[in-house]
């Protein structure tokens, strides 16, 4: 057992609980629960969006992906980066203007039909559950690797913490946990980035020169094609990443936490800057891991390369930096899953319960109670599923969620905003076709059949 790691994990847990304690005092009605009262400043929401979006699997996966597959690792991040321009140009401002608490609000602002609300909420819940299971299974594996707590207890710890944040602190706690985590992640990445550069005398060309001879791929390391052998692999991956973010419910509900479209614009601008700076640094961490640790050792610790970033921290800064990066990864898990719990819970309580079951006439007290019950229900469902799928290859669950977001959510969002002749039947068709075609295609694909 590594005591530095454990004490830093405890610091994170205590800090987030303190945030939740203060947030709970500000969470007295549904508006505060779902949107933090709509009072976040543009930069706060921007940092929170980036904290919501940069998951542990993406942080560790991108560094590992670049370390192990060179240029092809870039395709894990470029689409995600550009997807923020899609959010900025096409979605953020109209979404803020039309929606109240959930994505379904935005679509039903135009098509006032319970069916529309029902299918929109169904898509949100489906995407949230898939995404949460992917994050939870990843978290269980990760915590086991980092501090040696077995899978099931890790899952329970993460599950209880995320439920506590959302249950008591609602959107306020979720936002501030995400903001704190974003600063920790940026800070940790920046320290590693500077340490890597210093090993190469701050000479970028020198780094490229070194990685050319550092891996078993030799010169091929810097060329595309190590991972994506088939041309369509790279194209469809990039296409999915580009369009996925703008349909992810837990990212979209963040735009309801600011007061108007102008502030929503500011938020997405800040988020884009934060995420792009993080990605630039992550590329060099991947190079650093390839050159300083070596492909064999990275694969020996974890075949997917997920330990590349922590291992790099150990080489460059000793046990303390390792512990710090491990704790940052832990904070990252907590912040992301909290956001997903909230998006799933709001679809259950606001759309299914209040919108459809009560025809929008539930009292303030009933609504808040429903929101709190839902924020226990959603994590319980996700944790139960996660217990059964721990031995499956769940990497595809995350991409399934993103594909669902791109095909079941984004079309209906864009058409609702921009197509004058779009109608109720069209909205419902687009959501159903997007949902089922994605699930059927994934089941028919290699991943769905259990191949790696």
């Amino acid at each position: 057992m590594n005591y530095t790691v454990i004490s830093l994990f405890l610091v994170i847990v205590i800090a987030t609980l303190v945030i939740t304690y203060f947030a709970a005092k500000l969470t007295k009605n549904t508006n505060q629960f779902y949107t933090a009262g709509g009072e976040l400043k543009g930069w706060q929401n921007g940092v929170a969006i980036s904290g919501d979006f940069m998951s542990a699997s993406s942080f560790l996966g991108i560094v590992g992906g670049i370390a192990l597959t060179g240029f092809d690792g870039l395709y894990l991040l470029l689409g995600a980066l550009l997807s923020y321009l899609v959010v900025m140009y096409l979605v953020a401002e109209p979404l803020r203007n039309l929606g109240k608490y959930t994505l379904a609000d935005m679509i039903t602002a135009r098509f006032k039909a319970n069916k529309v609300r029902g299918f929109a909420a169904l898509n949100t819940v489906t995407i949230s559950v898939f995404y949460m299971v992917a994050q939870l299974v990843g978290a269980g594996v990760l915590i086991k690797m980092l501090i040696g707590i077995p899978y099931v207890p890790s899952l329970i710890i993460v599950g209880v913490l995320m439920t506590v944040y959302v249950l008591f602190g609602g959107m306020t706690a979720t936002s501030w946990v995400q903001i704190t985590k974003a600063f920790l992640l940026l800070g940790g990445t920046f320290v590693l980035f500077i340490l890597v550069l210093s090993k190469f005398h701050f000479n970028i060309i020198d780094i490229f020169e070194k990685v050319k001879s550092a891996t078993p791929f030799g010169e091929k390391y810097l060329e595309p094609g190590i991972k994506n052998k088939n041309g369509l692999d790279a194209i469809s991956l990039n296409f999915g990443l580009l369009l996925g973010t703008a349909g992810l419910p837990h990212v979209l509900i963040r735009f309801f936490t600011v007061k108007d479209a102008k502030t929503a614009r500011k938020s997405v601008t800040v988020a884009t800057w934060v995420i792009s700076i993080f990605y630039v640094m992550a590329i060099f961490l991947g190079f650093g891991a390839a050159a300083l640790i070596g492909t064999d050792k990275i694969i020996a610790e974890n075949p997917a390369g997920n330990m590349a970033a922590p291992a790099l921290a150990r080489i460059l800064g000793g046990d303390f930096l390792f512990a710090f990066i491990a704790a940052v990864a832990f904070a990252t898990i907590l912040a992301v899953v909290a956001g997903i719990v909230l998006s799933g819970a709001s679809a259950f309580a606001h759309d299914f319960y209040n919108g459809i079951l009560k025809q929008g006439k539930a009292s303030e007290k009933q609504q808040l109670k429903a929101a709190r019950i839902a924020s226990i229900l959603v994590p319980v469902i996700a944790i139960i599923i996660s217990l059964f799928v721990q031995n499956l290859n769940v990497a595809f669950l995350g991409s399934l969620a993103l594909t669902l977001a791109a095909s079941a959510n984004l079309p209906v969002i864009l058409l609702t905003i921009y197509w004058r002749r779009f109608n109720t039947a069209g909205a419902i068709t687009s959501m159903i076709v997007g949902l089922f075609s994605t699930i059927i295609f994934v089941l028919l694909s290699q991943n769905g059949q259990g191949h790696k």
């Binding site: 395709y75 550009l82 899609v86 900025m88 401002e93 109209p94 792009s276």
Partner: protein, 123 residues
């Protein structure tokens, strides 16, 4: 009311504030503002899409980007880093444009309010 709200309302005619909206929609600058904004969004989105998707298409089906620019850095890497620069540029451009659209819609709105006030005074 800012411009994106006006545009949204242009599409969604069932919303509240109908009379005022109709008034504003008939103002001389309004339709130009709408088409200006739509044109800006469309051309930007297409440019972003093409510049981005061209990279995986080229790296998947040709080796043209594997030539070196400076020492070990190839055109493929250069393109990837240029996509970062492009993101920053489009970020700044959007903010600038959106602010100028806001300003325009503010002027139109004031005009509409004045006209409404004049009419009410006559009645």
């Amino acid at each position: 009311m800012d411009v994106s709200k006006l545009i949204t309302k242009e599409v969604i005619r069932t919303m509240r504030d109908e009379e005022k909206y109709e008034k504003i929609a008939q103002m001389p600058g309004f339709q130009q503002l709408l088409s200006k904004k739509k044109k800006f969004i469309l051309t930007s989105t297409l440019t972003i899409f093409i510049l981005f998707m061209a990279l995986p298409v080229l790296t998947s089906y040709s080796t043209i980007l594997n030539h070196s620019i400076v020492g070990p850095i190839t055109w493929a890497w250069f393109w990837a880093f240029m996509l970062f620069v492009m993101t920053w540029l489009f970020c700044v451009l959007y903010t600038k444009k959106a602010n100028s659209f806001d300003h325009l819609s503010e002027t139109i709105k004031e005009g509409a309010n004045k006209e409404l006030a004049v009419k009410e005074a006559k009645v």
